[in-house]
Symmetry: C2
Subunit: 584 residues, 2 copies
């Protein structure tokens, strides 16, 4: 075997005159009157190889039989490319290999699509092993590798132990739908694949493991929306003898290491912290993109004073009038664009969108005439608006104004290039509500999970006004994406029973549903809390991608199918019989 001495990405002018061997795939094949040029590709890069007639007929004929994607080994001498033929985009662009020997490892069948050409996603997923040959896919796989290693190295430095928890677990009554695995040994019994290692990590704290982490596979049998996969990966973390601030401070150590690795930027900590309520008020979302301003402005008091019926009615019904000011956007958005924005806001429930273009003296726009000069001046001041700005205002419930305006803010921020898309902004959103009210079921539901500890200063409200109680919960937000989320856990049996009561669970029901975790908590749980990072989403962020299938080497379609292997597939009747199940 002609075994490589170098990779296809490392030869430079330093190696001139050296005899080397390269291994790789034929990336491009060109025959210029008997002189055969190929680009040879491996994980590390491309190198140009030249087969000249002078090297002998046999070699020449072999070279002429080569085709794209054949796997070969080539021996040759490194020489400088002809003047003007250099390729500054390539690491190896100064040189080429003058071939003296060729070995074909694999005469590849013609691939169903050109590796770096166009092809629909279905075909690419069916031949994923070819799609993964693209240098872009190698780049993503390497980012994922570096992310995982940086996480593990940093967690180890921070004194955490990686602990493996079972994949074959028990079905839990709460949460999303479980994937089930029929037991052969125990007829009628099933394992369930874990939705997260939540239970086990709390048990590890009860076991005194103190600081646990795991890059863990999680499973949810839910209908797949865009950017959801039935199996996904999270960096799962739990620590003992900590309070709220300790978890945040420890995790900032990890975030700093990630920033250093991926952007070279030395983050200053503590990272900004936004209260959930403040985030909802200023940005309309609990995961605001803080790379730009354009905050939501409340106009309630001013709206009540106008003659504009929509505004007045909204305020009279106790609802909200809020808006954003898009800097310099007045000229950039045509009437048609503004109709599109109105329809976009409608997707988030807004029945209308008031737009006002700020001119030197006055506002223009269909609603401007309802606003007196005094109100216009007050709006202008409230927004800090300058001529050329565009005001977008929604009058509706708090939830609708939040949803519509945060979506508009996000869209306009991008369209107006208010931030560098390669920049990163990290912040915490903290103190989420402990409960929300499920009107349909007529009961409280846990916002995070039922074992979350309330904020100490809100404990006096737990009995009387549970919706006002804030949780010791925190999300890490990067560029408007929830990158991680967690809570301090409840290790106090009395508080825990009150929470269960609000959730509509009798002590007996709670025992039935969460039996051995409750038992474990009574056998000596330390104060503890944790967090989980979505690894797939982190890779998307650092690789600058927005499709989750790009960051998972062997992904599933929205129907949960692996087009390459054909999973899920049919099985033999004998297999079902052994598992004591039959098809319905």
């Amino acid at each position: 075997m002609l075994k490589r001495t170098h990779s296809c990405g490392e030869l430079t002018a330093e190696h001139l005159g050296r005899e080397v061997v390269l291994n790789g795939w034929v990336n491009a094949y060109r025959d210029f009157g008997g002189v055969v040029f190929i680009d040879l590709r491996d994980r590390a890069g491309l190198t140009q190889v030249v087969f000249e007639p002078e090297a002998g007929t046999q070699l020449q004929e072999a070279a002429q039989s080569l085709r794209n994607e054949w796997v070969i080994g080539v021996r040759g001498t490194v020489r400088r490319r002809l003047p003007g033929k250099e390729n500054p985009k390539l690491q190896t662009g100064e040189i080429e290999l003058q071939a003296t020997e060729l070995e074909v490892f694999n005469a590849t069948q013609t691939p169903p699509f050109e590796i770096d050409g166009e092809a629909n996603e279905e075909l690419r997923l069916k031949y994923r092993f070819l799609d993964l040959r693209r240098p872009e896919m190698h780049r993503i796989v390497e980012i994922r590798h570096r992310l995982a290693q940086t996480m593990r190295r940093t967690m180890t430095e921070l004194g955490f132990w990686e602990v493996e928890t079972p994949i074959l677990g028990r079905s839990t009554p709460e949460g999303a739908r479980d994937f089930l695995v029929p037991s052969r040994i125990h007829p009628g019994h099933f394992y369930a694949l874990p939705q997260s290692p939540q239970l086990y990590k709390q048990l590890l704290m009860v076991a005194g493991m103190d600081r646990y982490f795991q890059i863990a596979r999680c499973f949810r049998d839910e209908d797949l929306r865009a950017n959801r996969q039935p199996e996904f990966t999270q960096l799962d973390i739990e620590m003992s003898f900590v309070q709220f601030e300790d978890v945040l401070a420890t995790m900032e150590g990890l975030v700093k290491a990630l920033s250093r690795e991926f952007t070279g930027e030395e983050l200053s900590t503590p990272l900004p912290r936004l209260d959930y309520h403040e985030a909802m008020e200023r940005f309309g979302t609990d995961r605001p993109d803080l790379r730009f301003g354009m905050e939501l402005i409340d106009l309630g008091d001013l709206a009540a004073q106008t003659e504009f019926k929509v505004f007045k009615d909204t305020i009279e019904h106790g609802r909200r009038v809020r808006g954003i000011c898009a800097p310099g956007a007045a000229e950039k958005y045509s009437r048609k664009d503004l109709d599109a924005l109105t329809s976009f806001a409608g997707d988030y429930g807004a029945k209308g969108l008031v737009w006002l273009k700020v001119e030197a003296e006055q506002f223009t726009g269909p609603t401007a005439k309802f606003l007196s000069p005094e109100v216009q001046a007050a709006f202008r001041e409230r927004f800090g608006a300058k001529p050329g700005d565009l005001l977008l205002i929604v009058a509706d419930t708090k939830d609708v104004t939040s949803a519509a305006l945060s979506a508009l803010r996000h869209r306009l921020g991008r369209e107006l290039k208010l931030y560098d898309p390669k920049s990163f902004h990290y912040s915490w959103v903290v103190r989420f509500p402990l409960f929300s009210w499920d009107a349909e079921e007529g009961r409280y539901v846990a916002e995070h999970h039922p074992f979350t500890m309330p904020l100490p200063e809100d404990l006096h409200l737990l009995e009387s006004e549970p919706l006002k109680v804030r949780a010791q919960a925190y999300d890490l937000v990067i560029n408007g994406e929830e990158a991680a989320g967690g809570t301090i856990r409840c290790h106090d049996p009395a508080i825990q029973s009150t929470i269960f009561r609000h959730l509509g669970l009798s002590p007996e029901e709670a025992e039935e549903k969460f039996g051995f975790l409750l038992s474990a908590l009574r056998f000596g749980a330390p104060p503890h809390g944790g967090i989980a990072f979505g690894l797939d989403r982190m890779v998307m962020l650092y690789a600058g991608l927005d499709n989750i299938r790009d960051v998972i080497p062997f992904p599933k379609t929205a129907k949960g199918t692996d087009l390459m292997t054909g999973a899920p597939g049919t099985v033999e009747e004998k297999q079902l019989r052994e598992l004591h199940i039959r098809q319905r």
Copy 2:
């Protein structure tokens, strides 16, 4: 919250006079006439804490209410223990903490067993979160953590990328029994949990990923023998453009790093290599413990010359007479012990065990009289036996003599303390047969897996004498355990079809069973090969344990049950309906 300033394992005379806070579990409670002593325990160790009446009634009463396994925080001053009260076994044994403040985080229920006391394994597994509190379990979890991190760090340094492969895969027709996961979206279809990432890692090589690794969870629904778990972990590795020697040399880099981490020993490489046939001949096993000699000696030619009928008949039937010489064992093994060894050999199929004690002039033992002085002298010379040695001889088929004598060798090596049980010996066993013959099914079966490449020098035998063909296969053996195994894969379609034909697969059947891997191999597979390390077994080796349940934080019983969670459990009828299955 009284938050710790130090761990319970770090205070020494250096900290005398310092005010510190510790958090942990009450490990031992003693009340000496009003002075309360406790040992406080956390992951890092134990510290003695003293509550003296002088510190006030309230603190004293609180201290007297403490019980074992309560979770507390204690503030106090570090002081030297009274002379004679030091405990040199503890890192903190010189000092104690004079308590000034106490906070009870959790008044623990009385545990069902004493943490470091005796309890049966069933109870320990049911309350695994308590069993895991034992310092020994912490030690094992930490070794597992260090092993995984050392592996990942070294693999990264060697240029490998960690790539995640799916857990929800497709059922494969060969190999062990699959765990199945019914699909909700595709009625009648099932995912299968992977028995190993074999398929995916080969596809990653076709995809040009070059060097892949993963610490991967694998699943086999087999009846559990001792030291088998339904889910287990392996370090899975594959590399491209390599031959046999390249894989071994690269992996020796990893083995050196592991040795350095766990024993501090700098291994010299290349590691010893034993041919499979040589290993079977010299040790009777393909995973010999090379920490001691006591090799199997062939006595066939001498046995044929004796008057002993058993020996003569055996040789006449073309079978083997082989034995081992246990140095200095003659005195140590009584008649009863020798009967036990005979019965032990019987477990491996030996119908008898000839034992001979070597004395200065002659052999003693029931068979000695059948051996002439000349034969005795020849035996003595062949074994290199000295007075006081014990010869153990089995006359049977090659397989039975191998199995029985290797088991005896292993047992006597341990009983006679022929090696330091804390030492490590690493070696390769290489060039396994490509096929074995399955007499029951009347066909060849693959010894490793059907994609293994034959040795080039044996290729000419592939058609005519397949049983003589040796594979490019290698096992890493540590202290008599198979720690890792792998092969160079076949990337040549012609060789592959011959192998399939021997395995009794028509081209159509091969296509049906291995379709997309065969397709992938045709689309440009590089020469590649790999290996997998059993992580659970490696932890057992480095932790000095022989029960796999000790190295898995949340293990299953031999019946596949998790006694803590009750998995596998029953599920709701609605869940089965959604999955389109019903109970048989």
